[in-house]
């Protein structure tokens, strides 16, 4: 590792990161052409876990964050390209089938993280100090178009936003935010309907 890389200033590595992101579209196009999206490798999982440490609530703890990453990877694995999305009520047209797996767009983004980490003198993104990772994550999210809304489901456009959307739209996240066991979309008996949900942590 070059000494100069170790001391690359924040602006320089941010630029390198953004440049890597800008270079990604062509590679993304190639990825789209694949019928089967690549599975995330174990190194990618480590990167995801290091992202999760920054973007997910500390209440989850290390194990909780790992579980979210595992669930995210499983979601990606079970995604079905071309799946029927049916039709919406109030419209006479069919919805477009499910597009290519979001996973097809992740390798370039992950590679960009790693490239930037190496340019910072780190062996991997996960090896970067938390504050540096945070800055890189903020830069990535900051470059996203749109407002405050997290993606309802992973789209591939931004891996970090996808991971965040995946968790924060989950029933577990709603429970955490409300500090109550709402358990959205869970089936439960009618008895007790009139009661508020039990506090989080109660049996």
């Amino acid at each position: 590792m070059l000494e100069s890389q170790k001391h690359m200033n924040r602006r320089t590595w941010l630029w390198s990161f953004v440049t890597a992101l800008l270079a990604a579209p062509l590679r993304r196009l190639r990825a789209f052409a694949r019928v089967q999206a690549p599975a995330l490798a174990s190194a990618d999982v480590a990167t995801l876990e290091s992202i999760a440490e920054i973007v997910l609530p500390s209440d989850l703890g290390v194990d909780g964050r790992k579980r979210v990453v595992v669930a995210f990877v499983t979601w990606i694995k079970d995604y079905k390209e071309g799946a029927d999305r049916g039709y919406g009520y109030g419209a006479s047209t069919l919805s477009a089938p499910a597009g290519p797996s979001p996973a097809g767009r992740y390798p370039d983004q992950l590679a960009a993280f790693e490239a930037t980490a190496r340019s910072k003198g780190a062996a991997s993104f996960a090896a970067l100090p938390a504050d540096v990772r945070r800055a890189q994550i903020e830069a990535s999210l900051g470059s996203m178009p749109g407002g405050a809304r997290l993606p309802a489901r992973p789209t591939g456009a931004n891996l970090i936003a996808d991971l965040m959307g995946f968790y924060f739209n989950s029933a577990d996240a709603w429970n955490l935010a409300y500090r109550a066991r709402i358990d959205r979309d869970s089936c439960r008996a009618l008895a007790g309907s009139e009661q508020p949900p039990a506090p989080l942590g109660s049996p």
């Binding site: 049916g86 965040m164 009661q195």
Partner: protein
């Protein structure tokens, strides 16, 4: 060519077809009944949890295979075409219309009166509620009298709805729970008790009525034949009379393009779109404008209702997501004094997660990660959101039409339908006053409950559509009589939604079913 004969052939496999078939099997057990449905049977109860999960997780279609790709209509609001029809997706809301809906001309000088006495129709509402299994609480308004209690106790109010009811009634408007075709008692109709799974459009536990329940039972008891994936393309007239002699059909899988059904009575139970469509497609030299269409009223007076809706930010701690499809209703505005500007509507309240979800940025635009995001989110959970909607009564113009679109055809070359709703001049003249009414009403709800009203928006399509074969006593201005018998063909009935002259101001399914049951009693007399 395959040929079938039956006493009654029912064309269509949705909720009204299910009701007709069930009631005929009871009233005339010796009659043979064939139900012919263009779409597939979706009888895979055991897969509903899986479908639901894929829909929740991936947004995949909740009822795979419940439509036909090239059997579409411009202006239709649901592509459902399967055994069960739109009622597969149905939320199960079972509101009744009110007497005013049937007496618009007499009471208000608007649109037309229905050729049915309310007291007569009310009996069939009770029957409809028994057959589909409705849980509900009676309206406290004496005008909403009913001759029988609901078959099942009302769905209990959730904690959220209890809060919302107290909040809403500060405005002086009374609210109660919306009746629903969902079991609050285990075993009613062979169905399970509701487990408030929050996804009523696909009820994974089988607590909500859908027509497949009825068809499966009738088939198991060998009461009917069900020919699915069979599209009826044309009704054929008897050579010497005006009776319908046959229905010509084709198998969707291409195995037989020449299926013929002969029957003493034909019942068109294909909904507001495909019923008038088939009549128009069946034009011949004696009825060049289409069967049952000597009045030129087939495909006219397409109706439904419109809505205004808003959300209100309220000072209530709500926990959205525990049975958020359950709602409150007020029928206070079903009536309109005759010396007041005309506006009639229902009023519904729901819990809502609107504005209460996670946000990537705070109000100032600052990016939020991890604990910051949760903290920002928690700040927004201290208050709640109430969704408010009112369906209001609009009346169709004669040129509110379903027509054949010769530019769009299915695989057999049949022109497909195009629907273009158009309200009548009187309705249009009320646009501004209707909007103002809702603006004032929603604002008063918000103000009384110390809430903050969001923007008000209008529904951009007519919901719970009907019409196209409207009923009436005058054959010159209607297609069918009050029993759904076509004026032109004594052995052809049209049942359910196509027959309604006006669309009311609340969910229509129970009314469509009640009318179909009334028709069935008449069909069974023949």
């Amino acid at each position: 060519m395959a040929r079938y004969e039956a006493d009654v052939v029912v064309i269509g496999g949705g909720i009204t077809a299910a009701m007709v078939a069930e009631k005929l099997a009871e009233l005339r057990p010796s009659w043979s009944v064939i139900v012919v449905e263009a779409g597939k049977r979706v009888f895979d109860n055991e897969k509903r949890f899986e479908y639901r999960k894929r829909n929740l997780d991936y947004g995949e279609h909740i009822w795979p295979g419940d439509y036909i790709t090239d059997q579409a209509a411009r202006g239709v609001i649901s592509r459902a075409m399967a055994v069960g029809g739109s009622a597969l997706h149905w939320g199960g809301v079972c509101n009744r219309f009110s007497e005013e809906d049937t007496r618009l001309r007499s009471l208000y000088g608007l649109a037309v009166d229905w050729p049915i006495e309310w007291r007569d129709l009310e009996k069939f509402y009770c029957e409809a509620e028994r057959r589909v299994g409705v849980s509900g609480e009676a309206s406290p308004l004496p005008e909403d009298w009913r001759s029988e209690p609901y078959p099942m106790p009302a769905m209990p109010m959730t904690y959220n709805l209890l809060q919302i009811k107290s909040w809403g009634e500060q405005s002086g408007v009374k609210f109660w729970t919306t009746p629903q075709a969902k079991n609050t008692v285990a075993g009613y109709g062979g169905r399970n008790i509701c487990l408030r799974c929050n996804t009523c459009e696909i009820c994974p536990t089988g607590a909500r009525y859908s027509p497949d329940w009825t068809f499966k039972r009738l088939l198991a008891e060998k009461k009917i034949q069900l020919h699915d994936q069979t599209l009826v393309r044309k009704l054929v007239l008897d050579d010497k009379t005006t009776r319908i002699a046959a229905a010509q059909a084709a198998r969707e899988d291409g195995s037989d393009n020449d299926v013929e059904y002969r029957a003493r009575t034909f019942v068109l139970a294909s909904g507001y779109c495909w019923s008038p469509h088939l009549l128009l497609l069946s034009a011949n030299s004696r009825f060049p404008a289409g069967l049952a269409n000597s009045s030129d009223h087939v495909g006219r007076y397409m109706t439904g209702h419109l809505a205004y809706q808003t959300t209100i930010d309220v000072n209530l701690k709500l926990y959205p997501g525990m049975n958020e499809q359950h709602s409150l209703i007020s029928r206070q505005f079903f009536r309109c004094r005759t010396d007041q500007p005309y506006v009639r509507h229902d009023l519904r309240l729901w819990e809502s997660a609107g504005g209460r979800g996670p946000q990537l940025r705070d109000a100032a635009g600052k990016l939020l990660l991890g604990d910051e995001l949760i903290a920002d989110w928690r700040n927004r959970t201290t208050r709640g959101t109430v969704r408010v909607r009112g369906y209001f009564d609009v009346h169709p113009d004669k040129d509110s039409r379903l027509t054949l679109d010769s530019a769009t055809k299915n695989r057999w070359g049949d022109a497909l339908p195009a629907i273009r709703h158009q309200v009548d001049a009187a309705t249009r003249s009320r646009d501004a006053q209707t909007r103002e009414h809702f603006q004032t009403l929603f604002a008063s709800l918000a103000k009384a409950g110390d809430g903050r009203m969001g923007g008000m928006n209008a529904l951009n399509y007519q919901d719970h559509p009907g019409g196209g074969c409207r009923m009436g006593t005058d054959p010159a201005t209607s297609v069918v009589n009050s029993f759904g018998r076509t004026h032109d063909h004594e052995n052809l009935f049209v049942v359910g939604s196509p027959t309604i002259p006006t669309g009311g101001c609340t969910n229509g399914t129970l009314t469509f079913v009640a009318l179909a049951l009334r028709s069935t009693a008449e069909i069974a007399k023949n």
